[in-house]
């Protein structure tokens, strides 16, 4: 029942301060998103370890990282934050994640399904 989540063995990750990537942000203009492959992005999302904090479906976690999809913030802000994060998120430079890869990842998180509706267990 902790609201501060402690690490298994070592330090606290705590709640990630990534307001810039908050899922509460308004939907971007459709023209702002570059073309990318959601299918390729799905593989990259796993191989680059994005899922570790944000979940395989980019659904986010209160313990590690916010929800990213299916309506992410504008690509420019997304890219800027990945390269130069201001919170707990580690930085991912172009040496590690190319712009093309980032575009595909963005396509993947944009393609995530909408949340389930009318779920009896959530009433």
């Amino acid at each position: 029942m902790r609201f501060v989540v402690y690490g298994l063995r070592s330090s606290v990750f705590g709640l990630v301060l990534v307001a810039a990537v908050s899922a509460q942000a308004p939907a971007p203009s459709p023209n702002a998103a570059p073309a990318g492959s959601a299918e390729t992005g799905k593989k990259l999302f796993v191989s680059y370890g994005c899922y570790q904090c944000h979940g395989y479906e980019a659904q986010g976690s209160s313990a590690t990282g916010p929800r990213l999809g299916p309506r992410p913030i504008a690509f420019a802000a997304f890219s800027r934050y990945v390269r130069q994060p201001t919170g707990q998120m580690p930085p991912y430079t172009t040496k590690v994640v190319s712009d093309a890869d980032l575009t595909n990842i963005y396509a993947f998180i944009s393609s995530r399904p909408a949340p389930a509706t009318n779920v009896p267990l959530l009433k």
């Binding site: 029942m1 298994l8 070592s10 313990a63």
Partner: protein
């Protein structure tokens, strides 16, 4: 307690040695012979008549009706232990036998464990469910070494565990070989930094006094483990007439928990009543059900928000003043923060960025007043650093929070004017709205990835909740980290429904603590449930055999993300920081290739088990089947393959 023939251990062994020499002398060359001359063949020894061995004519005494261990059991029984958990060991064979035969294996009943870490962690979980300590028996050497991490967890979690460790002090009486390897000059040395008190009694009267003292010290806040090292001879030797005349069991009076100074309480009340935005933060505040009642009274008297850090079940999760989900904003806007038994007050009001350069900043406004009530200020040790960074507070009460709350409630009520009361009411209404919004927000977030595979932790949480919410349930442990879904979505209102974490973050606590707590809940018919991490499971899985063997009903739903996931993230953080690729963070951190078949392991231990379950639609029926087993009084485990968090 009659002793018809008394012989002490030394006399017994002396007699046995001489008799043995005589027996050997009858047919073998022995060291008792004169040394043979060089080159000459050894001469057979002549038979030795018994009278030459034992001129006094006394007969070797081979049995006793009253060993010291029996008296130790008499003492232990007065302390009302329900159970004593142990992995068996020769250094405490005397008291082991006394417990199961002389003591009738009741109060305490022997709980067979497969690892000392399991025994201590079971005692840890049991205390938090039951409110009284469990005893643990272990070797003073290898047993303590196995037990050490679990003792550290209990120490950090302020939980009393009553440990008895066997040892063999007299070097001239040890059996050759293992008994030497299992003996130690100072058995407590290895754990003294993270227990509250220890002793090594040299007589049975000494044991009786130290047993009472140990219990009293362990149960005085801040509660912590204690250790009595009990000599093998003291357990096994007959009680002599001289000692019998001195045997008595001292009366035990448990110490009243320390209450905060009246002046400090009054100052705290003044600050809280006059605050515009007070926040109450509780961690290990509610030791008993009364702690929850007192905290509700304080929050309602002030209409102040409560943030539950969850070291204990401090405050009902659905109370409108429970603002745990809004903690960050509330703390940032607070003008007075009351911390009740906080593990980390500094961390509560600060933020640390784990970057290439570590930076920290205060997250509260300048001038915010901090009030601390914690018994930990009465007993802080130096070596292990669990005490966290130094908090600069304005009022510091070295006192037990639960014991201090009634006085603080009354002081707040006395200090509240009509104007303040109307301001409180307005604040309470706003907080009630915020609480409802947070619950709706959590439900909306839970709907994302609802049908995903691996199964979302939100889905798993709510599938479980649907089937336990109408039972008398208790979430006895939660060893996998999973986005606080239980705290955000379940309705906790009873003291035993949430028991907090391990304390020291030593992995391996979850399974044994859950089984220990379930053992405490068993007699009350409570439905014990646990969310079981995969990494935690693998530390000492023999504890599942203990659950099956002792028929301990427990529903375990696994959060199996197939990794030491926190460590995956740590390694990825390093790889990102060092700017050299992040595709190899799984090396050394994941638990796959092959995937562990947890259900098969549990089944091999005699536990009903299902899984691995990967389809979320299969989870509800699996939980239903498991519940049928648990309601029959047995443990059941469901392996669920889950999202990372």
């Amino acid at each position: 307690m009659s002793i018809t023939k008394s012989v002490d251990r030394r006399d017994f062994l002396k007699s046995a040695a001489v008799t043995g020499a005589a027996a050997l002398g009858a047919g073998h060359a022995t060291a008792a012979q004169e040394p043979a001359q060089s080159g000459a063949p050894p001469q057979p020894a002549a038979p030795i008549a018994p009278r030459e061995v034992d001129p006094t004519g006394s007969v070797e005494v081979l049995t006793t009706d009253r060993p010291g261990g029996d008296f130790m059991v008499d003492v232990i029984k007065t302390l009302n232990f329900e159970f004593i958990a142990s992995n068996p060991g020769s250094s405490f064979r005397g008291i082991h036998e006394s417990i199961i035969n002389y003591g009738g294996n009741t109060s305490p009943e022997f709980i067979t464990c497969c690892h000392e870490e399991s025994a201590v962690a079971m005692a840890h979980g049991y205390f938090k469910a039951e409110g009284r300590p469990m005893a643990v028996l272990c070797h003073g050497t290898v047993g303590m070494q196995h037990a050490a991490m679990a003792i550290y967890n209990a120490y950090c979690d302020r939980v009393p565990v009553y440990i008895l460790a066997g040892n063999s002090l007299d070097a001239t009486l040890r059996r050759p070989g293992v008994e030497w390897a299992h003996s130690v000059q100072d058995a407590a040395a290895m754990v003294r930094d993270f227990i509250k008190w220890d002793d090594q009694p040299v007589s049975l009267p000494h044991f009786a006094e130290s047993a009472m003292r140990a219990y009293k010290i362990a149960m005085t806040p801040p509660m912590m483990p204690v250790l009595l090292v009990i000599d093998g001879g003291l357990q096994e030797d007959p009680i002599s007439h001289e000692v019998t005349s001195r045997l008595r069991i001292p009366r035990l009076t448990v110490t009243t928990p320390p209450q905060g100074d009246s002046g400090a309480v009054a100052e705290a009340a003044r600050l809280l009543v006059n605050a515009q935005n007070p926040v109450i933060v509780a961690d290990r505040a509610a030791r008993t059900p009364a702690g929850i009642t007192h905290l509700i009274a304080l929050a309602e008297a002030l209409q102040a928000p409560v943030v539950n850090q969850g070291g204990r079940m401090n405050f009902p999760s659905r109370h409108p003043l429970n603002q745990t989900s809004n903690a960050r904003q509330l703390i940032a806007g607070a003008d007075v923060i009351l911390g009740l038994e906080l593990t980390d007050f500094w961390g509560t009001v600060s933020a640390v960025r784990d970057g290439l350069t570590r930076t920290s900043r205060s997250v509260v406004r300048p001038g915010t007043k901090l009030i601390s009530i914690t018994a930990l200020d009465l007993a802080t040790k130096g070596n292990y650093q669990d005490f966290q960074r130094y908090p600069e507070v304005d009022v510091a009460m070295a006192a037990d929070a639960e014991a201090t709350l009634p006085a603080l409630v009354e002081a707040c009520k006395r200090a509240t004017t009509a104007d303040r009361r109307s301001a409180f009411e307005a604040r309470g209404k706003q907080l009630g709205t915020a609480h409802a919004s947070a619950l709706e927000r959590a439900r909306a977030e839970a709907a994302y990835a609802w049908d995903a595979s691996p199964i979302s932790t939100a889905r798993m949480t709510m599938e479980l909740w649907a089937q336990i919410k109408n039972e008398d349930w208790a979430l006895v442990a939660e060893s996998g980290i999973m986005s606080d879904w239980t705290a955000r979505l379940w309705s906790f209102d009873k003291h035993y429904q949430s028991l907090g974490g391990s304390g020291g973050a030593g992995v391996g606590y979850g399974a044994p603590a859950a089984i220990g707590a379930a053992l405490g809940n068993k007699k009350r018919g409570r439905l014990s449930v646990t969310i079981q991490g995969d990494g935690d499971f693998l530390y000492a899985p023999g504890v599942w055999w203990t659950a099956a063997h002792h028929r301990i009903p427990l529903l375990a739903v696994m959060h199996n993300n197939r990794a030491y996931h926190q460590e995956v993230m740590h390694v990825q953080r390093m790889a990102s920081r060092h700017n050299r690729g992040i595709t190899r963070a799984h090396i050394g951190t994941t638990i796959d290739d092959p995937n562990v078949d947890f259900a098969k392991i549990a089944q091999g231990m005699g536990v009903h088990a299902q899984g691995p379950i990967t389809n979320p639609n299969d989870l509800g029926p699996a939980i239903k089947r498991a519940l049928d087993v648990v309601k029959r009084g047995e443990p059941s485990l469901i392996d669920v393959v889950t999202q990372p968090r």
